[in-house]
Amino acid sequence: MTATTTAPVAAPETRPAPRRPSPRLRAWATRAPLLPALIFMIAVTQLPFVATLVISFFDWNALYPDARSFAGLGNYQEVLTDEALRKSVWTTILLTVAVVLASLVLGLLLALLLDRKFRGRGLVRTLLIAPFLVVPVAAALLWKHVLYNPEYGLLNGLLHYVGGPQPDWISDTPLLAVEAALVWQWTPFMMLILLAGLQSRDQQQMEAARVDGASNWQIFRYLTLPHLRRYLELGALLGSIYIVQNFDAVFTITSGGLGTANLPYTVYQTFYQAHENGLASAAGVLVVIGSLVIATLALRVVSSLFREEASRA
């Protein structure tokens, strides 16, 4: 901060600051604004995870605090062999893959539609974004009570008009019911990312292809799709990161019943209702390992887009 009083003799072209006082002092002055945020993040996110890791090696039920003992890998063994927990791992994968794929495909179709000029495009875009801007619990309540209700829900009401069946959506297809609600909320997210991708295409290249007689399908297949690849990857990975962690929809629509309990819900239930701290921590660590795989891929995609962005600037 002190360096600003000494005006640099020659305006430097590159970013590294002119080194006047002592290099070490300067380096710390540069670093100082960063430290509060960095320390805050380490304290609030990394330390609790380390604690989770430690607790996961203990046999610890909060109702019997005196019976706490070191369990080694016992909790992990129990998590991986417990039928209900194993099922929740499978449910998490199924839920995430289904929601991400469905909302990605729908989002791509909507983005392609919105990429063209037509009357009222801005309004349609706004209508399409709206589902993403409903509070998740409110959206889940909307689907559970207002749409899915077998007696007076809107879905069965509309089916009534065409003389269709009157299914009990949540009881008959619980996982699909949760997935549909999530797809409705996440499609706008995918659409926005893919629309940004479509609009960053090289217009000259597209025009040249069209002049050369390429059909719409050829342009989509050989120009648009390769360009969109990384945006599709980004949407899929970010979507996975958010949906793997989903708690709101499962908690609200089925309360984890009927085989819809995913890992976050199971972790919540294991310590909040069953008070099994050790087990819950082990399950939590497993969620982290699962996310780590997705996260590594996601970071790679983000960094490649980031570098491209930097080289273009």
């Binding site: 945020a37 009222g120 749409l147």
Partner: protein, 283 residues
């Protein structure tokens, strides 16, 4: 004007059909929200009919019920809690992320990309990874059911996104302008307020709105760490999970009122929404 129309009319005609499809898709996606809005203005008896009564008389009873007219719990304390948690954590995020973003863009530290990616990686850590220790910590320090604990947690939840977004907005400020101001003898505070702020302000505003949305929406932390005193609006909504007889209009009114701040903030930040959600990777 007519000239342009003539020249592009061919493409417009082929596009008109697809424009219609787009409109249809927009309406289908919006239908649940439109229906929720309509139902919130119906009486409970009209809200629960099959087939649905589209043209039933409108009433504000659902909203009166929601705000506690029928003797139910008032939503005001939870709305105020949500407001405090969202606004306070957003302010804290700004205080922490702006200097950090400055040190990652305008006057970057060495290996600034590594630092940036560290922030991002913390966002990938699921909430359940630290939930239990945070709960135990809160229990032992008497911080359970305290809104300020949520403020801290929401700050940590949003800080990585904010640092990424702010970094990308501050990086858009041309170095040449800053250098020129410096050569002209401007001090750091002047440079920040007169040169950097005007360029970066729209981005900073959008970032704040996105942080506000995420804090307002959060359920898991709030559900585990708050009780009667610090209950937030989403936790209040979970009271509607089990059916309570005829209560559809009330549920719709509640969902709509609690979603309004998010809808407003989201539409205000529409243009920067993608950038925030994709952690700054997409512009």
């Amino acid at each position: 004007m007519s000239n342009v129309a003539v020249r592009t009319s061919g493409r417009f005609r082929s596009g008109a059909g697809l424009g219609l499809v787009a409109w249809l898709a927009g309406i289908v996606f919006f239908l649940p929200i439109a229906w929720m809005t309509l139902t919130s203005f119906h009486s409970e008896a009209d809200a629960a009919t099959n087939p649905p009564s589209f043209a039933a008389a409108l009433t504000l009873d659902g909203y009166r019920e929601f705000f506690g007219a029928g003797g139910g719990a008032s939503p005001w304390p939870s709305l105020i809690n949500s407001l405090v948690a969202s606004v306070a954590s957003t302010l804290l995020v700004l205080v922490l992320s702006l200097p950090a973003a400055y040190a990652l863009s305008i006057r970057p530290v060495k290996k600034w990309t590594d630092v940036l990616f560290f922030f991002l990686s913390t966002k990938m850590l699921p909430v359940v990874a630290g939930l239990l220790p945070i709960y135990l910590f809160a229990k032992n320090t008497d911080m359970l059911d305290n809104i300020w604990l949520l403020v801290i947690l929401y700050t940590s939840m949003n800080l990585p996104i904010a640092v990424w977004m702010m970094q990308s907005f501050l990086a858009e400020v041309p170095v040449a302008i800053i250098e020129a101001a410096r050569v002209d003898g401007a001090k750091l505070p002047t440079i920040l307020t007169r040169v950097v702020a005007p360029i970066a302000l729209p981005g900073i505003a959008a970032t704040s709105l996105i942080c506000f949305i995420f804090s307002w929406n959060e359920l898991l932390f709030a559900r585990v760490l708050t009780g009667v005193v610090a209950e937030t609006a989403p936790v209040f909504l979970t009271g509607f999970i089990t059916s309570q007889g005829l209560f559809l209009a009330k549920v719709c009114a509640a969902s709509l009122v609690i979603s309004l701040p998010v809808l407003a903030a989201g539409f205000a930040a529409q243009d920067k929404l993608v950038q925030g959600l994709s952690l700054g990777a997409v512009k």
